[in-house]
């Protein structure tokens, strides 16, 4: 053994990260996603100098259901699963809201909204139970339950229609204090804060990340892996329900066929927002911000007079670049070691 071999102690743990560098290392998407969103907002204002509060509000409204779809997918992904029925759960909750609230008062609508959140959590619970107990891969289970929920949505409401009281719709379509602060922005922030912060700060958050990162190690550390995975799907269903209700606020009606778009775009936003497809890494804020980025792209293309069908091409390219970029950074860091 040469002297060079002995300089590297096996107990060398590398430099201790402090302050900003530590924050970036621990929460990379909380740095990259605001930056990406700022870039896209900058580009939007540059190509569309007349950008005003109305445009900001339509962005906030357009992105709200997607933000919840992204949050729903993110929770499940973090726990090491995947939920391809998010869009269909949004559709079910959306048509439930549009049919029950059509002739209801504002107060009744709020009550129905609470009930629909329970329904969403139950749909998620079904996903979770089947995934945990059947041992069929989660992709297969949620793909098929997605078909089922999609059919249920069409049974409830055959074609787009229904509605909700104006005051209820105004919760999302209106604004707070300044016309730049859309009600839908406030709703997203509030829902994420009310649902996610207690989870993330509490023991459940720790369990979700532990199970997503390494099921065997988590089990040996004393974690109930099955229960944790189940609860992740319940949370996913809950976020989906909020997304379905949000969709009524932004469109004013129920749309039984909304499913596919929100499943795929929600997954895209979650990945773009820094959630690992293999679980254990990422958060909710990144995917929510990514939902706004993904909503800005087609809007910008319209301002630029480009065929909005390019939107998907650009969205896809962006996701590949961002995810690849993240992998590249990691590879470079590992090389340095």
């Amino acid at each position: 053994m040469t002297a060079a071999d002995q300089t590297q102690s096996p107990l060398e743990t590398g430099p201790r990260l402090r302050g900003l560098r530590r924050f970036v290392h621990h929460h990379p998407s909380l740095v990259t996603m605001p930056a990406l969103l700022a870039v896209f907002l900058g580009v939007t204002v540059a190509i569309h100098p007349g950008y005003d509060s109305f445009d900001a509000q339509s962005l906030a409204m357009g992105a709200m259901p997607l933000a919840f779809a992204a949050a729903a997918q993110a929770v499940v992904l973090i726990s090491g699963g995947i939920d391809l029925s998010v869009g269909s759960m949004i559709a079910v909750c959306n048509v439930l809201a549009a049919t029950t609230m059509e002739n209801a008062t504002f107060g009744e609508s709020l009550l129905f909204a609470a009930g629909i959140c329970v329904v969403g959590a139950l749909l998620g619970a079904v996903n979770g139970l089947v995934v945990v107990f059947s041992r069929v891969p989660d992709v297969v289970v949620t793909l098929t339950t997605g078909f089922i929920w999609g059919g249920v949505a069409l049974l409830i409401l055959e074609r787009p229609g229904g509605g909700a009281p104006q005051e209820f719709i105004q919760l999302g379509a209106g604004f707070l204090v300044s016309p730049w602060i859309s009600g839908s922005l406030v709703l997203v922030a509030a829902a994420v804060a009310i649902i996610w912060i207690p989870v993330q700060r509490g023991r459940l958050g720790l369990l979700l990340y532990a199970v997503g990162s390494d099921k065997a190690s988590a089990f040996r550390s004393g974690v109930n892996v099955e229960l944790t995975r189940f609860l992740a799907y319940v949370l996913g269903g809950l976020f989906s329900a909020v997304g379905g209700i949000g969709l009524v606020m932004t469109t004013g009606i129920g749309s039984p066929l909304a499913g596919v778009y929100y499943t795929l775009s929600g997954l895209a936003a979650a990945v773009l927002g820094g959630v690992s497809l293999t679980g254990g890494r990422g958060g909710i804020v990144g995917p929510v911000l990514a939902a706004y980025v993904l909503t800005l792209i087609p809007a910008d293309l319209i301002f630029l007079n480009i065929d909005p069908n390019f939107g998907q091409v650009i969205q896809g390219t962006l996701i590949v670049l961002v995810v690849m970029g993240g992998g590249l950074v990691e590879l470079l860091q590992r090389r340095k070691k």
């Binding site: 743990t13 990340y209 532990a210 065997a216 254990g280």
Partner: protein, 523 residues
């Protein structure tokens, strides 16, 4: 800083008999009593009837050759999976743990071979996950020599030896009455092992018990009071570990009286081959990862070189480096006099080095036919303007199938063949393409005896035809049967080299546990 070792390096000579006396003098309360513990995984019987009895204030070694069932027993005792049968009593009370969390509550905690730490959480979060007090862990980490460890660092960013120490500190902090330590010293430098021994001894002085699994006989006799020996899932004996008991333990592990029989059979020492030009494959000072430290050997054309080692002594890394699956960290690989730098398995195959892995799943196409599986690596030589010459392919494949006596009744899909026939297909594929050196990693694992014999005969036949064969086997009797020479790996180094005639099971097993005759140890 070294004052913290708690006298670990103090009284080496007197300690063993003294502690032994202490164990007898203190109460002989039985902390843990397990009997008739059985476990099978599908068709594989891991444990038949294991028994283990651990007294209070005792360091108890659990020993056995590869696959004897040590780790399975540890995992059953700590609730990782349930036993199929048997009784386990803690302090005389019948217990059956359904999860590690339950075992922990009852005071039974294990430090597993693979640290039970979640990579994407920080150290502190991992401690919270297991509901362990961070302050207590810090104190133990200080004792283990890493007082300044950043508990806010991600586990995935920390090196493996540190993780094992964290795992150990976490286990100690939960204050178990019975601590199980599975192979902790394999990954650690010697001075650190000494620290751990110091802690284990302190633990014993408090009247707690430690179940210690190690392949290193010297550690066991220095640290442990008694040893339970497992063989093929059965407890075959309990013995003192005082100096001089190594022979008895080796006998128990092997299952028969050690008689130094004269090596039978022809002495196929490849002396004449060694004199021939450059070796078919030479490895010098090879290093890779944390397990392969410094391995050098040469294998010549016409020779079968056997490698014996217990699990995790660097043999996987060795074969991966030679076959181009992994990049080495240092050292040289020389093929017929030319230094090589493989970056891909295709490079190694191009240089005439081909690998038959132990795990057939890694190499086979289960849904495809025998023909396609055999021909896969040969396509390079069978192409004509990009198209595959089907008749040439059929010819080569038929020849290989005939030589290996492969049962072709279920030839349309490899997954329908028996394990032995699958393994033969994996060897056949290399017969159909050209190779100079065959790397066989435990090729007979899980294969019936008849097929095994066919594979042995084939390896000899290949060597006779001028191929060089490197054979790692976890079944020690195979080595004198098939090989010309044998080397033994221990802790990532070659500790013993011998002619086949001297490579009896006892010598191989002793060397695998680091017990090497003085002459070779100094060489």
């Amino acid at each position: 800083m070294f004052g913290g070792t708690n006298g670990a390096s103090g009284s080496r000579g007197s300690r063993v008999p003294f502690s032994h006396l202490a164990a007898e003098m203190t109460s002989t309360e039985i902390l843990l009593a397990a009997s008739n513990v059985a476990k099978r995984f599908n068709s594989v019987v891991a444990l038949k009837a294991a028994a283990l009895e651990v007294r209070a204030g005792e360091v108890h070694a659990l020993m056995g050759a590869n696959g004897a069932g040590k780790s399975t027993l540890v995992k059953i005792l700590t609730g990782v999976f349930p036993a199929d049968g048997g009784e386990i009593a803690i302090r005389g009370r019948e217990r059956r743990f359904r999860s590690p969390a339950q075992a922990r509550q009852a005071g039974v905690v294990s430090v597993y071979q693979d640290p039970a730490l979640v990579p994407d959480l920080t150290v502190a979060q991992n401690l919270r996950l297991a509901r362990v007090n961070a302050k207590a862990v810090r104190a133990w980490l200080a004792d283990l020599g890493i007082p300044e460890l950043d508990l806010g660092a991600f586990v995935r960013d920390l090196p493996y030896p540190v993780l094992r120490l964290i795992d150990l500190a976490r286990a100690l902090a939960s204050d178990p009455t019975i601590l199980l330590i599975d192979e902790i010293t394999a990954a650690l430098p010697a001075d650190l092992s000494e620290r751990i021994f110091g802690i284990v001894r302190r633990w014993r002085e408090r009247g707690r018990s430690v179940i210690f699994i190690s392949h290193r006989m010297a550690e066991v006799s220095a640290l442990c009071d008694r040893a339970t020996v497992l063989r093929d899932g059965l407890t075959v004996g309990v013995t003192d570990t005082a100096r001089g008991s190594e022979e008895r333990i080796v006998e128990l592990m092997l299952g028969y009286e050690v008689a130094h029989t004269a090596a039978a059979g022809d002495a196929r020492i490849a002396a004449e081959a060694a004199d021939r030009a450059a070796p078919a494959l030479e490895v010098r000072g090879l290093r890779c990862g944390r397990l392969l430290n410094d391995v050098s050997f040469a294998v010549h054309a016409g020779e079968v070189l056997g490698i014996a080692a217990l699990e995790g002594q660097g043999q996987e890394e060795l074969f991966d480096c030679i076959a181009g699956v992994r990049e080495r960290d240092g050292g040289e690989i020389i093929v017929r006099g030319r230094p090589q730098d493989f970056r891909h398995p295709a490079d190694a195959i191009g240089a005439g080095l081909v690998l038959v892995p132990a795990n057939r799943q890694q190499a086979m196409l289960p849904q495809r036919s025998i023909r396609e599986n055999v021909a896969l690596p040969a396509y390079r030589g069978l192409r004509h303007w990009g198209l595959i010459d089907m008749s040439a392919e059929r010819e080569r494949v038929q020849e290989a199938i005939r030589r290996l006596h492969i049962d072709t009744r279920a030839e349309s899909a490899l997954q329908r063949l028996s394990g032995g026939n699958q393994q033969k297909v994996m060897i056949a594929r290399w017969l159909a393409s050209e190779f100079k050196t065959l790397l066989c990693f435990d090729p007979t694992r899980g294969i019936d005896i008849g097929t095994k014999r066919q594979i042995y005969a084939l390896l000899r036949e290949l060597a006779a035809a001028g191929a060089a064969v490197l054979l790692f086997s976890s079944e020690l009797p195979e080595i004198p049967l098939v090989c010309d020479r044998a080397i033994v790996l221990f802790a990532g180094r070659v500790v013993h080299e011998m002619a086949a005639a001297d490579a009896d099971e006892v010598t191989l097993l002793r060397a695998s546990h680091g017990l090497v005759p003085q002459r070779e140890a100094s060489a």
